[in-house]
Symmetry: C2
Subunit: 511 residues, 2 copies
């Protein structure tokens, strides 16, 4: 899979390419990012060693809890941990040692092989917002529905810089809690051909996700087709539902993000280095546990960390402390040789306004330079994650293009040096017309598909539209141009049968 942008169908000549060409018209899609730039690493060797040593002390002396999970406790006992009630204390080095069998990079397949993503190494895969119960658009804020969910999946499919369709892009609150994962998976499987995430809200729903993938991919055969989000109940608690989902996925060689969910000052100490220590301890245990389930199961070192507004108690986003933790956790993940998940379109604003954009840009920039490999929430996040915002989705998705260009790095070949142009133009001249400019301008600069650079008068004549208004127009245009990617009708029918059968087997539950 190459970096950069390719128009579908221009690549390769295989069946997949032909199918893509036949079915998806003129959608231009970028490959996942491969960084040609260094990581930003503010933690010194001394700081890293302190964190790593302290994390071992936590695991040995404080330990972690695996409540209501006898099977997990048995595995830990067998692995050499000290198990006391549901408290697990790990001798120094045990967790880190178990983590060594986790792969440093893995492929997540998509049903269109051109959309496969490589997670780990120098790569960065971008996925949309996850989890909000509300949506917002020009009409205001309301509970999310399955129709909203499908609209987001279509927009994600049409977003050139988005490599992944994500998971619970918003919570479809109009569908029963115990059945909505079927509808969400159907949307990801049929409305797009990008890779996606599985359900984690019950172990049985993880199993359902795997069974549906088995149908979609004609047998998974240990191929990794899902990346799913396993949150740790910080501090130091691994609840049995999330662990149950992890167990299902790891057993089937499906990838999990092992991710402490931390509001700094509430679920972790108020200091950056204290938080990083706890994050490392928690991730080591989660990853080690995945390897106890199945050696070599793909996992991702996750860090979802925000600060807290000590006055209101509200979580805050895009702050300098969050950036420091994002950089630091990246260093820790690389020292463990694990793919890294962090950052996103985080912000605490109620509207897709300047606050939302400052905070989002702070987080996106930190994520790129921190060496993040999988960025969940890369677009659409609003109001501290309570809201998936349609306008912000397309605004953020446009900005994700800047990450692609930054990551390309700086070419230094003869053409890039442009000495001929400098000689040709000379003092007081103009580069617009010169041969080098003519040959290079099309690829030279990243170009927004959203922002306004029109002359003031044109902009005023067109109604003085702000970014939100431009985004509204873009949403309609993207949806109007949307084309559903081809899926073998037999596969679609098999999926529909599976879902109908499953849904019929249980009453609706709304809790």
């Amino acid at each position: 899979m190459e970096d950069g942008v390719a128009t579908r169908g221009r690549r390769g000549g295989g069946g997949a390419a032909r199918r893509a060409e036949r079915t998806s018209g003129k959608i231009t899609q970028a490959g996942f990012i491969t960084r040609n730039i260094p990581d930003y690493e503010p933690l010194t060797e001394e700081a890293l060693e302190i964190i790593e040593a302290n994390a071992e002390v936590i695991l040995e002396e404080v330990g972690v809890c695996f409540p209501e999970n006898e099977a997990a406790l048995a595995l830990w006992r067998e692995a050499g941990a000290d198990v006391d009630g549901d408290r697990v204390r790990l001798p120094r080095g045990l967790a880190r040692n178990l983590c060594k069998t986790a792969p440093s990079q893995f492929t997540q397949i998509a049903r269109n092989p051109e959309r496969n993503v490589e997670i780990g190494g120098r790569n960065l895969v971008l996925a949309p917002v996850y989890g909000p119960p509300f949506v917002r658009d020009a009409g205001g804020r309301r509970y999310a529905t399955m129709a909203d969910f499908e609209k987001f999946v279509r927009l994600g499919h049409m977003s050139k810089w988005l490599h992944h369709s994500g998971g619970t892009v918003c919570e479809p609150t109009d569908v029963a809690v115990n059945k909505r994962h079927y509808d969400m998976l159907m949307a990801h499987m049929t409305l797009t051909d990008k890779p996606f995430m599985g359900s984690v809200t019950e172990p049985s729903r993880a199993r359902d996700s795997i069974e549906m993938c088995d149908i979609l991919f004609g047998g998974l055969n240990d191929r990794t087709a899902m990346v799913s989000l396993i949150n740790i109940n910080s501090p130091l608690t691994f609840d049995s539902i999330m662990m149950g989902a992890l167990e299902e996925y790891s057993r089937a060689n499906q990838a999990c993000i092992i991710s402490p969910f931390i509001v700094g000052g509430a679920m972790a100490p108020v200091s950056v280095i204290g938080t990083l220590t706890q994050v490392l301890a928690e991730v080591m245990v989660g990853v080690a546990y995945s390897q106890l389930i199945r050696k070599g199961a793909p996992v991702i070192f996750g860090a979802f960390v925000t600060s807290i507004d000590m006055n209101s108690g509200a979580p805050t986003f895009g702050t300098p402390e969050a950036a420091q933790i994002t950089y630091g956790a990246g260093q820790l993940a690389r020292r463990m040789g694990l793919p890294y998940r962090s950052a996103g379109s985080f912000n605490g604003s109620k509207l897709p306004d300047a606050q939302a954009a400052y905070e989002t840009a702070n987080s996106l920039n930190a994520g790129l330079l921190a060496g993040v490999n999988f960025m969940l929430h890369a677009c659409g996040w609003l109001e501290g994650g309570l809201v998936a915002d349609f306008e912000k989705f397309v605004m953020d998705a446009d900005q994700l293009g800047t990450l692609h260009k930054m990551a390309e790095g700086i070419a230094i070949d003869e053409n890039a040096q442009a000495m001929g142009a400098i000689h040709e133009v000379g003092p007081g001249g103009h580069y617009l017309g010169c041969a080098h400019t003519q040959a290079n301008f099309k690829q030279a600069f990243w170009k927004t598909d959203l922002f306004d650079y029109k002359p003031f008068e044109t902009w005023a004549d067109e109604g003085e539209r702000d970014t939100r208004a431009l985004a509204s127009v873009r949403i309609e245009k993207m949806l109007a141009n949307y084309e559903q990617p081809y899926l073998d009708p037999a596969v679609r029918e098999a999926l529909m049968d599976y879902v109908a059968r499953k849904k019929a087997s249980m009453p609706d539950a709304f809790m």
Copy 2:
């Protein structure tokens, strides 16, 4: 001068401190930033050597122009350059060698010694937007007036994260072109006690600026009291008016930013490395020339670089190419041992909306990590620099706080490690009440003075205000709390006399 925030009057006990305490009430001001974090350096040694070698080739083979400046040409001839008409070609190494006498760091004094700034080294000094002919506020966009200018200076004085009052914060278009520098300088000298910039639009106005500083400071005696902006007319042209101002300032040991003004693709090649090569060649000549005027004159390596939208021809801001150049030019400046100016609240939006904020945050973040020492335009820039926006001024000025916190770096002492807290809280516990949190929460997290983190219902009840609306409120509050800093009435009178005498000596000019 320490980093961090200190309430005026708490520092030191000298006369200046007492005067500040007496006159400026409860204004809290941050000291300039001193970085405890590494720089981000994407250019490899190979890339840097290519750029440096190519810059020497440009100077030797293409040369630069000093039109209508016989004195400059004579100096260059004397220094060993090849002068042909107004074209100056510099033998390899000449410019770089001349640059060596420029200081790597210098102090710019303010009339309140607590506001002195150290420019260079690991420091970052933040100054407001410079040059826009228009202003915008809640009422819309209009030509800037002297009343707007004074309002900006007051807001700058009240902005805790802003270390510098800047120069032409907006163009006071209601004052004659040949007299407005007097009024602007009077505003900087009397409405704030932060450091400021001098006039560069005529050599005589640079002389006036120096004479007014002589009055304000009771004799300058070679102390550096101004940093002024000398733009190079890229490509490779040094116009005689700007050079005339540089000559005046350098002779008087006043600092100049030597700054190519480049819209990439128009005034420089469309490639990052080609642009960096031209920037380096131009800055080397400008700095070398300042040292021909006076060895040891303080100067700053400037890089104002934006891309161009190849469709509309409009300059674009906050782009990945601009960030790459900002990082790269920082590396080049440090290799020359020169203070570095770049980045700012750049954006191309017509409104202080999401576009404005994304682009601004991209540039501010790049500026911090690029090792910028003097950031002009750090707040208030809108519409590609055509507009100084009041709301954006306070939005950006608030965000500048994040740069302070990021730059502090990550503490690793025992308190920061927080192992006691982690032991105390344990699995499943809560950190809000623990002793470590109580002792540290006040300093733990950077806190916005502007953004909204209220509960949704409170925010809705208060009128669903966006960032602009919150900024409007903040502007009024800051102006209501403004107190003019004390200035010796005799000095004020002497300045007023000087200005009155000078203004009376010439007719108004409006071109």
